[in-house]
């Protein structure tokens, strides 16, 4: 249970309207206090275990999230928070939106809602913990995501 007691998250704001972001931040504040589970919002991917992504992917940030995913040491878990990150949400067919996060990097758990309640996000973190533990046991490594992937224009 070494991983499950100290999940450090890195919060990546992709294309989010901030609704989800502030709820992710709210999870860390006293009322929800995610640090009870050892959660720390760590600034650098090099020390993170859980990548919390809010918002959908667009053409500008697609490389950013791939880079960050690649820079998280294994085992790692990706948590897609909110309708946007899960499926593209209300913006799923905007011209500059590629889609949900799972279009570019492997996602392990989804949190529904627009925006999701902090409780739902905490649920997501807790779900991520067991996935993390399984990945460690099974020695499952995240594949390196190639940088030249889905950035082809959708209306090209």
């Amino acid at each position: 249970m070494s991983l499950a007691k100290s999940p450090w998250i890195i919060h990546v704001n992709c294309n989010s309207c901030n609704g989800c972001d502030i709820e992710v931040v709210a999870c860390l504040t006293p009322l929800y206090d995610a640090e009870r589970f050892g959660v720390l919002n760590i600034g650098t991917p090099k020390q993170a275990d859980i990548m919390v992504v809010t918002g959908s992917v667009n053409y500008k940030n697609v490389n950013v999230i791939k880079n960050i995913y690649n820079q998280i040491p294994d085992p790692k878990v990706v948590l897609a928070v909110g309708a946007c990150a899960s499926t593209g949400g209300i913006f799923h067919n905007c011209y500059n939106v590629i889609g949900g996060v799972d279009q570019v990097i492997p996602v392990d758990a989804y949190v529904p809602g627009c925006c999701p309640r902090p409780e739902a996000i905490l649920d997501g973190v807790v779900a991520a913990l067991s996935i993390l533990e399984n990945k460690k046991k099974g020695n499952i490594k995240g594949k390196e995501v190639k940088l030249k992937g889905k950035e082809v224009p959708s209306n090209a």
């Binding site: 090099k46 490389n63 950013v64 999230i65 880079n67 690649n70 040491p73």
Partner: protein, 638 residues
């Protein structure tokens, strides 16, 4: 036989200097190797010969004395001629004053019957430095100067090697001579060598700086010779004589106080202490081997050498205290100035001045422990600084710059060189290496004088800062591998040799102490510090320096690192660039707002607004001059 070794120590370098002139450039490499080997052999031989006094009496004396006189005249004539040629009036004026003083001495001085060389442990240490480190530097130069001259379209290597070798002869003479007149000759000869080598490039900058060095050293020289004249009135003609005379009683000490202070001023000028520091900084235009040889490890040490030798004449007196305050002030001031420099050679220059200041401060404190610290610091500092200067030179040839900021990523380009340079820096500021050990000793020794200790504390913090900054920069990896500089044995052998010497001397510190330092302190002060060296500790009456434990910890760190390295297979990843690093070629690139790529770079903090030269230099001049005046006044009045 000690007489022979003494003569050889002066003759052999002169022979080599002539060989350098006579033989073609292609043979220099072999010549330098030979010189190095002979230098090592001679100096080791001298140490094995033990200490002693070599008297030169009639019938040889007259001949030697005449040579000395002729040389002195030549030196003065040379100075006057060259300063007239380049229309450098201040130097000319100083040259004329020197000539006048010389004429006065020549006509008024009582006739001497002999001269002596006094080889004590201190001289032995200096000879080891001069002949081993010095020849190693010349060896390094053979791998360095071709490239140096190529850059500058120069072809003066014959002058270079001639002067360098000749300088070694003069330096050997200087550290052995006991007769003040002869000492003074060697003293002036080193000044002259320094002048020639500083203006080596023959451009305006070089010549101006050469003259500045000459002029300031002449000022020191004049103080020196006035001191000699004053001493002569008390029938003191030898360096050791001063100590003997002053040792009789307090009154005698007071009598020699003024001349001793004047001699010290000569020493300060030679050691580029404030307010004379500008010549040493200017001297950095010379090729790096020159900086390493003359301006850090040997010639500038002549000044502190003299001051330490004079310790018996001021130990415990108010003059001693004044000197201690003065030295520690230079230490803190120059350390602060070094903080704001980004030119590596200037950093080293300031660091040199600062460390010499520390030596002077220790000498000024004058307790056995402090004097021991001073002598040890001369040794350790010479080795570390020589290494650092040579590394800087080699770095400059590798990356084409001596700006510290340009050195980031060096560890990828030239790992061995970087390691050696880092070793040099570590040895300057961290335990268990010699320099820090001596700094520790001098701090413990200085702790009875509140002003000195506070200066030392501040200075040592500043030292840590500027070296840590530099060290971090060269060790930082930038991930772009550039062409690796090819390694020449002539350059890398001296570097590695000096690196090993640092480690060896630091491990053997107690042996060195026992063999050289303790007897020397006994000679100077009649007592030795109560220092013991059991259990890998350097224990004095007030503290203990557990150098062995630190070496063990260091070794353990290496062992643990290499043992565990494979336990956690490292996976190399790109830098965290806030997610914007997409370029494969240079990992420090990031995408900017215009969708093109920029390279990130970071410069260190230099605090130029606080510690910049423009802010501090004037203050330094003012305070140091006041301190010197106090020292002089104290010497005369109290």
């Amino acid at each position: 036989m000690i007489e022979n070794t003494v003569m050889l120590l002066i003759a052999v370098p002169i022979l080599f200097s002539l060989l350098f002139v006579a033989l073609p450039k292609s043979l220099y490499k072999y010549l330098a190797w030979a010189f190095f080997i002979i230098g090592v052999a001679l100096s080791v031989n001298l140490v094995l010969d033990g200490t002693g006094v070599v008297e030169i009496g009639e019938p040889n004396f007259a001949m030697f004395e005449n040579i000395v006189l002729i040389l002195e005249v030549l030196v003065i004539l040379f100075i006057i001629a060259v300063s007239a040629k380049y229309k450098n009036w201040p130097t000319l004026a100083l040259g004329i004053i020197s000539a006048a003083i010389f004429a006065y001495t020549f006509t008024n001085a009582p006739h001497a019957e002999g001269a002596s060389f006094n080889i004590d442990q201190f001289s032995q240490i200096m000879i080891l430095i001069v002949n081993i480190v010095g020849t190693a530097i010349i060896l390094f130069a053979t791998g360095y100067m071709d490239e140096y001259e190529e850059h500058r379209h120069l072809n003066r290597q014959k002058t270079f090697y001639f002067t360098m070798s000749f300088f070694l002869a003069a330096m050997n003479g200087l550290v052995m001579a006991d007769t003040l007149g002869w000492l003074f000759l060697f003293w002036e000869l080193t000044t002259l060598c320094s002048f020639v080598l500083i203006s080596y490039n023959m451009d305006e900058e070089g010549i101006n700086n050469g003259f500045r060095a000459l002029a300031l050293n002449l000022v020191g020289g004049i103080a020196f010779s006035v001191g000699i004249i004053l001493l002569a009135t008390n029938d003191i003609a030898t360096l050791s004589g001063i100590g003997v005379y002053a040792g009789t009683d307090a009154a005698a000490m007071a009598v020699v106080a003024l001349p001793v202070a004047l001699l010290c001023i000569g020493g300060f000028a030679k050691s580029a202490q404030m307010p004379f520091q500008s010549w040493l900084l200017g001297a950095m235009v010379a090729p790096t081997p020159v900086s390493a040889l003359l301006h850090s490890s040997t010639m500038v040490n002549a000044g502190v050498f003299l001051v330490v030798k004079l310790v018996p004449a001021f130990a415990g007196s108010s003059l001693g205290t004044a000197i201690a305050v003065y030295g520690s002030f230079t230490f803190v001031m120059c350390s602060a100035l070094a903080l704001s420099q980004r030119n590596a050679k200037r950093v080293l220059a300031y660091s040199t001045i600062a460390n010499l200041g520390l030596i002077i401060a220790s000498a000024g404190i004058g307790t056995p422990l402090a004097v021991a610290a001073a002598i040890m610091l001369i040794l350790f500092h010479a080795i570390s600084k020589a290494l650092l200067f040579l590394c800087t030179g080699e770095i400059e040839h590798t990356i084409g710059s001596r700006d510290i900021e340009d050195m980031s990523g060096l560890v990828k380009k030239a790992p061995l060189l970087t390691t050696l340079a880092a070793l040099g820096m570590v040895s300057m500021l961290l335990p268990p290496f010699g320099v820090l050990l001596t700094k520790w000793v001098s701090m413990e020794a200085a702790s009875s004088n509140p002003i000195v200790i506070v200066f030392l504390i501040l200075g040592s913090a500043l030292t840590t800062v500027y070296y840590a900054k530099w060290m971090g920069t060269i060790l930082s990896s930038s991930m772009d591998k550039n062409a690796v500089h090819h390694k020449k044995p002539e350059t890398y052998f001296p570097l590695s040799f000096l690196g090993l010497a640092i480690v060896a001397t630091s491990i053997l510190v107690f042996t060195i102490y026992d063999y050289f330092i303790r007897p020397q302190v006994e000679i100077l002060l009649n007592t030795a510090p109560t220092v013991s060296g059991q259990a890998g500790q350097f224990t004095s009456e007030i503290g203990a320096f557990a150098y062995a434990a630190i070496f063990v910890a260091l070794a353990l760190a290496f062992v643990i690192y290499f043992a565990t390295r494979n336990m956690f297979t490292p996976r190399t990843a790109g830098y965290y660039m806030c997610g914007e690093n997409n370029m494969e070629m240079d990992k420090l690139m990031f995408r900017n707002g215009l969708c093109s790529y920029d390279k990130s770079s970071v410069s260190n903090i230099y605090l130029q607004n606080t510690f910049g030269e423009s802010k501090l230099t004037t203050l330094g001049y003012a305070i140091s001059i006041i301190l010197i005046i106090i020292a002089l006044a104290g010497g005369v009045l109290i």
